[in-house]
């Protein structure tokens, strides 16, 4: 199929305003004739559901948690970017646009990113009006902090709980619409399929997680705001329930999946402590402002530390390798996420890692404490140090912290056009679920911005254009397409319950995660990816023969919930590998060992790979078709990133 990104004509800075003027509008009194389904209640979903209801549409909103307030967005710590230029430090919409395009290693669409930078300004106004308690200066005006990948201070924050406060703001707007009856909220409800009629998305099939009831919901448009797929790696910083099911089922119904191999590995997470580990905890990136990253110079010292015979403090200054400072003298410990992560892995691969597992590097605050005093460091990072201590039982004021990279965010996702519509008419994807504006690497504090931009300010406009051109007649859930989708969903559940094998869902998930991490994680090679692809196929085949799911469908069944999600991860995992194999270059979070410079840095290939890879599903176990959307850069010059 021809991919049409529907980027409006005209100069970059005018595209969005012009487009807003040109789109068709639904007459206010007609809006109540349209039903919109919003799956997800995170920043993207809650913002979209509330805004659409305010406009007058009838909205049904779904989440799998017990309350919309608990969506994974709640966990974001650091902050949200906006080109307000409140600090008068030279920020502008164009600068935010430029930083995001460059940070994404030139693999995002210019027009989308510029729009994101434009609406970022309104997001802050909106959140403040809702009562979001952002940090403030003594004079009462909003405070900002700086974040990686930018030379201006444009990040707004609410202590270390920015995501929580933004989500609670969106949740309050959503709650207000639930009260008015314009939104009907379905909690503990998981979407398991998209229903298309005459090629258009007309509804979804859901499972009630308490009763197991399979139900259909019909509407005029469906918005997927279901978050990212980082949990394909089993261990990640994502919430336990985060999954790809909604996006993946949509993919199987015709929505293209774009750039699945673009995943972000965050450098500062608490290392894995044992096999029991269920998830990884992020330590804010801000720690790299004062912490120095190092490992022992000699493998022997590293071995001694791993064996518990030596501690960090036994290693003399001249025996320490501050490898980021050594390799990147001008950026030092503040190199971007992908560079910092890759280097930590390299040190551990060389046998110089620390901690029991040898899979950790030190983040040392001793010099900062000497320089600024304990009080200052405590004031800056006290809560993070406490959190670290609670989890690891070690005191970071006395011993260097140990950190290791972990999967954090997925830039890939459902392909969408400028209107955020997928390749299935009437089916939209917002927030982390779409292939996003972040290209091959996301800058810190930009995901919250994108989720809220999509939900508050983009989809509510663009969806009107679609609905205005569509008759308001309703389809009912008696339509054969709904019955068919329900029957397929039930059949899949029955199949899982019947297998009664010997391995648990978690065992399969862990196995998949390990393969993905080892071969499709921080560094990838054609050979490794080919091996991994075969392994994933084998694990998937075994899953369908040997997984153990106990209990019945008609009850709250935590094993069945997980099994349905892992079944989809097992399919997605293969597509990620295929995408990584196809992309014969290194860019952002995608590092192919064959494509690096002599100094070991990522080597992009703009002549052959400046495109979005949008994969088209062809049926069970069949190879997917690659559709390419060329990326055209008219406003920025492509350069090789250098942080030396």
């Amino acid at each position: 199929m021809e991919l049409n990104s529907k980027i409006p004509e005209g100069p970059l800075a005018e595209k969005w305003s012009k487009h807003k003027f040109n789109v068709k509008l639904v007459n206010p009194s007609n809006k109540r004739k349209y039903d919109v389904i919003v799956v997800g209640s995170g920043l993207a979903g809650a913002a979209a559901a509330a805004s659409l209801a305010e406009l007058g549409y009838n909205v049904k909103c779904f989440c799998f948690q017990d309350s919309p307030r608990r969506a994974h967005s709640i966990a974001a710590q650091g902050g949200i970017n906006a080109a307000k230029n409140y600090q008068n430090d030279g920020d502008s919409v164009f600068r935010l646009f430029y930083d995001t395009i460059k940070g994404g290693d030139y693999r995002a669409r210019e027009a989308n990113v510029h729009r994101l930078a434009e609406v970022s300004v309104s997001i802050i106004d909106q959140c403040v009006a809702q009562g979001v308690p952002f940090a403030r200066e003594y004079g009462g005006l909003l405070a900002n902090r700086s974040f990686g990948g930018a030379q201006v201070s444009r990040t707004f924050y609410a202590r270390g709980q920015t995501g929580q406060q933004l989500l609670l703001g969106a949740y309050s707007a959503l709650s207000r619409q639930i009260e008015t009856g314009k939104v009907k909220m379905y909690t503990r409800t998981e979407m398991l399929d998209v229903v298309t009629i005459d090629g258009k998305a007309r509804g979804i099939v859901t499972r009630n997680l308490v009763t197991g009831k399979i139900e259909s919901h019909a509407g005029h448009a469906v918005l997927l705001c279901t978050g990212g797929y980082g949990n394909v790696f089993y261990l990640s910083t994502n919430a336990m329930g985060s999954n790809v099911t909604a996006a993946w089922r949509a993919h199987k119904k015709g929505a293209y999946f774009a750039n699945p191999c673009y995943t972000q590995i965050h450098p500062t997470c608490i290392p894995v402590s044992g096999d029991h580990q269920s998830k990884l905890t992020l330590m804010s990136e801000s720690l790299r402002n004062d912490g120095r990253v190092w490992v022992p110079k000699n493998e022997a010292d590293a071995k001694a530390i791993q064996a518990g015979k030596k501690t960090a403090n036994d290693i003399k200054e001249e025996d320490r390798d501050y490898f980021l400072e050594r390799k990147y003298p001008s950026f030092g410990n503040l190199v971007p996420r992908d560079v910092a992560s890759r280097n930590a892995k390299q040190m551990c691969d060389e046998g110089k890692g620390v901690g029991k597992t040898g899979l950790a590097v030190y983040l040392d605050f001793a010099d900062a404490i000497k320089r600024d005093g304990l009080k200052t460091i405590e004031a800056k990072y006290g809560n993070l140090f406490d959190m670290y201590r609670q989890i690891t039982d070690e005191n970071p004021y006395e011993m260097p912290m140990m950190i290791y990279p972990a999967v954090h965010y997925t830039m890939g996702g459902l392909w969408v056009d400028y209107n955020l519509m997928t390749s299935v008419p009437g089916l939209y994807a917002l927030g982390e679920a779409n292939f996003s504006d972040h290209g091959a690497n996301r800058l810190g504090a930009s995901a919250l911005m994108q989720g809220l931009a999509d939900g508050y300010f983009v989809a509510p406009y663009t969806i009107g254009d679609y609905l205005a051109q569509m008759p308001a007649d309703k389809v009912t859930t008696d339509h054969p397409e709904f019955k068919k989708a329900e029957a397929e969903t039930k059949a899949q559940i029955d199949a899982l319950l019947k297998i009664n094998g010997t391995k648990t869902v978690d065992e399969f998930h862990r196995e998949l995660g390990k393969i993905m991490w080892d071969y499709c994680g921080m560094a990838r090679s054609a050979e490794g990816l080919q091996f991994a692809r075969k392994r994933v196929q084998e694990i998937r085949a075994e899953f369908w023969k040997n997984v153990k799911v106990v209990g019945a469908n008609e009850e709250l069944n935590i094993t069945l919930e997980k099994a349905l999600r892992v079944a989809d991860f097992l399919e997605l995992g293969e597509l990620m590998i295929v995408d990584a194999l196809n992309r014969n270059e290194s860019c952002g979070g995608h590092f192919r060992e064959e494509y690096q410079t002599e100094e070991g840095e990522a080597r992009r290939d703009d002549n052959n790979f400046a495109y979005v890879a949008a994969w088209e599903y062809n049926g069970k176990d069949k190879d997917e078709t690659l559709n390419k959307e060329p990326l055209v850069f008219e406003n920025v010059k492509l350069t090789q990133r250098s942080y030396k």
Partner: protein, 249 residues
Amino acid sequence: MKLTLKIWRQKNANDKGKMVEYKLNHVSEDMSFLEMLDVLNEELLHKGEEPVAFDHDCREGICGMCSLYINGHPHGPLQTTTCQLHMRSFKDGETIYIEPWRAKAFPVVRDLVVDRGAFDRIIQAGGYVSVNTGVTVDANEIPIPREVADLAMDAAQCIGCGACVASCKNASAMLFVSAKVSQLALLPQGKAERKKRVEKMVAQMDSEGFGSCTNTGACEAECPKGISLTNIARMNREYFVAKLTSNNL
């Protein structure tokens, strides 16, 4: 470590439920409490038994999804969420009692999972500023003194977990409700609706079957986010002023 677990098992809302004993022999001190339950569940699955259902999601102490009444304390012995509690807080050989939140307004769904929908309905009754998307002024046109913003943020940190209700002998939801009322009453954006808000939220709280507050302070002591009792005092003031001067909704 070796542990004996006594866990509340209840098939569904209509089942009577009972405590069931389990033994776990290989628990590491570095595990979180929920990872310890993961280990138990894997063992149960291998035996073909149904795992213990419990709520959780972020496992970072922020989503408010995890619960559990552990040895007589909501979220266990420390002032954190259950997901942030580690096994080093327990002794080898210890017997640990694990129950769901107990409150009329939080009916048990299954095992350790309860229905906290009442909290959502209280927020829906008025826990917001009525502002439509896009109809706002520039953010810096509403300066807010830092001390006020800090107080509002202190209150806004509530994660809606329900430990305050579980800790209270009357199963009162005052701490939770007062946190939201305080946050919005403190901020200029929330002032226009403050009277209506507190009246409607309190009315909803009462209709959900939460008990009344007798100021024992158990909620504050158990709240994992340190939400302070002063919020309850502030809400009481808000409520009396509203009742005295509004149209008594």
